[in-house]
C-alpha cells in the first residue's frame, strides 16, 4: 500500500471499521482491517504490539486511535471498534450497555494489559540536573501536591534527604488539566497511604487548584522542564532526564523502575466485587512492603467481548489479546514504552478470560 512502512504487502488500505473482508476465511493467519481506540497511555505499547502482531499476521491491518479512555469506551460501546483501551476498569452501567455490542447477550470484560509506573518528576537546579533522586513518603508527596509544602527545603523533605543540599526554591506543582487515568491512579496512592494528607474524593479530574495544570502527559512533562522548582507526575516512559522521586516502601525508599511496578501488581489482589463475567480488575496494593516494589502504578486495560457478531473480529480479538498478554508481547511493550511486564499471576487470569472468547 502507498507508503505503509511494513514490509507486508497489504494493499488497498481503506481503514474501515470491523472487518468485512471475506477473501480469506482460515483462522490463521488473521487478515482484515481492525480498529481500536482509547487510552493514550497505551499508544506507544500498541504501536509496538501492532508491529509485532503483523510479523506473524502480515495481512492484518490494525488501527488505534489514542482518543482517550472515555472516548475509547464510548466508541467501543457503539460497536465501531473491536476493542477499547482504558486506564480504568469498566463502570457497571458500561458493562450493562455492552450487551448491545457483544453477541448473544454476553457482556464486555476488561483485562490488564499494560502496567506502567507513574514517575513523580521534578526539575530542581543542583539536584535533578545532577541525576539525583529525592526521597519522599506518601504524606510528603500528598502535602506537596496539596499545596501544604511550598518550599523545596521544607523540613519534611529535608528530614528524609539528609544527604542533599536542598535550595530555598518555591515548589511549583504541575498536574494534569484534562480528565486522566494517570491522575486517578496517582491520587489513589495518596488515598490509601496518606489519607490524612489527602481528603479529596477519588476522581480522574485534578481536585484542587494548586500549581499549574497542563494538557496530557506531554503537557506536564514539558511544563516541568520549563522552570526550576517544578514537580509533577507522568508515565515513566515520558520522564526522560527529569529527576524522579524515590518513594518510601516499608522503611526504604524505592526508586522508580518497571520491575518495581510488576512487584506491586504481583503483590496485589483482584477486585472480586466487580460485576460481570471474565473480568480481571486489579486492586493495587499501595501498602505493599515488598523489597524494591514501586507502588505508584497505572494499570491499563483492554476491553473486549466474549462473543462478537462477526467471527472474523472474534478471531482477531482473541489472537490479538493472546499476543498482547504473552510474555513476548509484554517484552515488546517494555522495550517500546518502558512499561512493566505483567506478573505471571495476572497473565494467567488474562489467559483464562481470553480463552472464553468464542470464535465459532
Amino acid at each position: 500500500a502507498c507508503g505503509d512502512n511494513t514490509t507486508a504487502s497489504n494493499s488497498g488500505s481503506n481503514g474501515s471499521s470491523s472487518s468485512s473482508d471475506t477473501t480469506t476465511s482460515s483462522s490463521t493467519p488473521i487478515s482484515g482491517n481492525f480498529n481500536g481506540a482509547g487510552a493514550s497511555s497505551q499508544q506507544a505499547a500498541v504501536e509496538a504490539w501492532v508491529a509485532g502482531f503483523q510479523g506473524t499476521n502480515p495481512d492484518a491491518k490494525i488501527a488505534y486511535d489514542p482518543s482517550g479512555s472515555g472516548a475509547g469506551v464510548k466508541t467501543f460501546l457503539t460497536g465501531a471498534t473491536a476493542w477499547a483501551g482504558s486506564d480504568k476498569a469498566l463502570a457497571d452501567d458500561d458493562v450493562d450497555n455492552s450487551k448491545s455490542v457483544c453477541a448473544a447477550d454476553t457482556t464486555a470484560f476488561d483485562i490488564p494489559v499494560y502496567i506502567s509506573p507513574i514517575a513523580v518528576v521534578f526539575n530542581l537546579k543542583g539536584i535533578s540536573d545532577a541525576g539525583k533522586h529525592i526521597n519522599m513518603d506518601a504524606a510528603t508527596i500528598a502535602k506537596i501536591f496539596d499545596g501544604k509544602i511550598t518550599k523545596w527545603n521544607d523540613k519534611a523533605i529535608a528530614d528524609q534527604n539528609p544527604d542533599l543540599k536542598l535550595p530555598d526554591t518555591a515548589i511549583t506543582v504541575v498536574h494534569r488539566s484534562d480528565k486522566s487515568g494517570t491522575t486517578q491512579n496517582f491520587v489513589s496512592y495518596f488515598k490509601d497511604q496518606a489519607p490524612d494528607a489527602w481528603s479529596y474524593d477519588l476522581s480522574e479530574n485534578w481536585p484542587n487548584s494548586v500549581g499549574q495544570g497542563a494538557k496530557g502527559t506531554s503537557g506536564v512533562v514539558s511544563t516541568v522542564k520549563q522552570a526550576d522548582g517544578t514537580i509533577g507526575y507522568a508515565d515513566f516512559s515520558a520522564a526522560g532526564d527529569l529527576g524522579t522521586v524515590a518513594v518510601k516502601v516499608g522503611d526504604k525508599y524505592s526508586e522508580i523502575s518497571a520491575d518495581g511496578a510488576t512487584k506491586v501488581i504481583d503483590d496485589s489482589e483482584l477486585d472480586s466485587s466487580v460485576k460481570g463475567d471474565n473480568r480481571v480488575v486489579v486492586k493495587i496494593n499501595h501498602a505493599t512492603t515488598t523489597e524494591g516494589a514501586y507502588p505508584i502504578v497505572l494499570v491499563s486495560y483492554m476491553i473486549a467481548c466474549p462473543q462478537y457478531k462477526d467471527t472474523k473480529t472474534a478471531e482477531f480479538v482473541k489472537s490479538w489479546l493472546t499476543y498482547v498478554t504473552s510474555s513476548d508481547g509484554q517484552q515488546t511493550a517494555s522495550q517500546a514504552a518502558g512499561s512493566a511486564p505483567l506478573p505471571d499471576s495476572i497473565a494467567q487470569k488474562d489467559a483464562a478470560s481470553i480463552e472464553a472468547i468464542k470464535t465459532k
Binding site: G68, G70, A170, K179, Q212, T223
Partner: protein, 318 residues
Amino acid sequence: MSSQEKAAMMPAASGKTADKVFRAIAYACGILILVVLAAVFLFLLFRAWPLIGGDQKANSQTISDFTGGKSSSFWGYVGPLLFGTVLVSALALLISFFVSLGIALFISHYAPKKLATALSYVVDLLAAIPSVIYGLWGGLILVPAIYPFWNWIATYFGWIPLFAGPAASPSRTVATVAVVLAVMILPIITSLSRDIFLQAPRLQQEAALALGATKWEMIKLAVLPFGKSGVVSASMLGLGRALGETMAVLMILSPGLTYSFKLLQASQNQTIAANIAAQYPEANDLGVSVLIGTGLVLFLITFVVNYVARKITEKKVA
C-alpha cells in the same frame, strides 16, 4: 453580407428556463445560509438537551465531576469559563489592536511601495498559519522566554491588581496566552485594516495636506475617521477568532475555574473552546452533552458579539 446576416439572424435559444432555474438555485443558496445557521443551533441544542430535559441529578453529578466539586450547576460551570473566554480574548484584542493599526498604517501610508507589497504578502501568509503551530511555538518557545518579562512586571507593577505577583513560572498564564492570541489575530486585523486604509479617499487626504497638515495630522483628519467602522469590524473579526481559539489555549494555558483577574498567575481561568477540547475525549455521554451545552453558549456569545458589532458599524456607515 448575406452570410453575416444569416449568422446574426439565426434564432437564439431563448434561455428563459435556464434563467429561471439559475435564479432559483441562487435563491436557494442564499436561503441555505439561514438554514445552516439554524441547523447549527438546533443540532447543538438537541445534543445538549439532556442538560435541560434529562435527569438533573446525573447532570449535577457530571458537572461536579468536571469542576472537581466546585459547582454542580450548569451556570456555575459555564460562568467562569465564559469569564475566562472573554477575558483572554479581550486582552488579546487590546494588545494586538494598536500594533495592528500601526502595521496597517505602516503598509498603507509609510512604507515604500515595494516593501509595502512584500509586507502585505507576508501578512496574508501569516494569517494562514495554523493555530497548532502557534500553540507549539507558544507552549515551547514563548512560555520560558517570556517569564523574565512577566516577573519584571509583577515586581514593579504588582501593586496593580491585574499584575499581582508572584508571576507563575513557567508562565502558562492568561497573560501569555493573550500574547499568543494577539500574535494570531494580528495578521487578520492588520490585513483588513490595511485594505480599508488603502481605500481612504485620496481627495480628503490631499485636502488635509493642502491645508498644511503634517502626515500624522493628515492621517488623523482623513484616514482614521474614514477607516473607523472598518477597523471596528476587523477587530470584531479578530475578537471572534480569539473567542473561538482552541488549540493554542489548550496547549499553553494552565486552566482554572475562577473569576479572577490575576493575569500573571497560573490556574486562574479557562476558555470554553479549550475546555471542550480538553474534556471531550474522556467525557461520557452526559459529559458530552454538558460540553456541547457550553459550546452552544459560546456559539450564542460569538453570535451576539458579531451581531452587535455589525449593527454598530452599519449605523456608523449610514
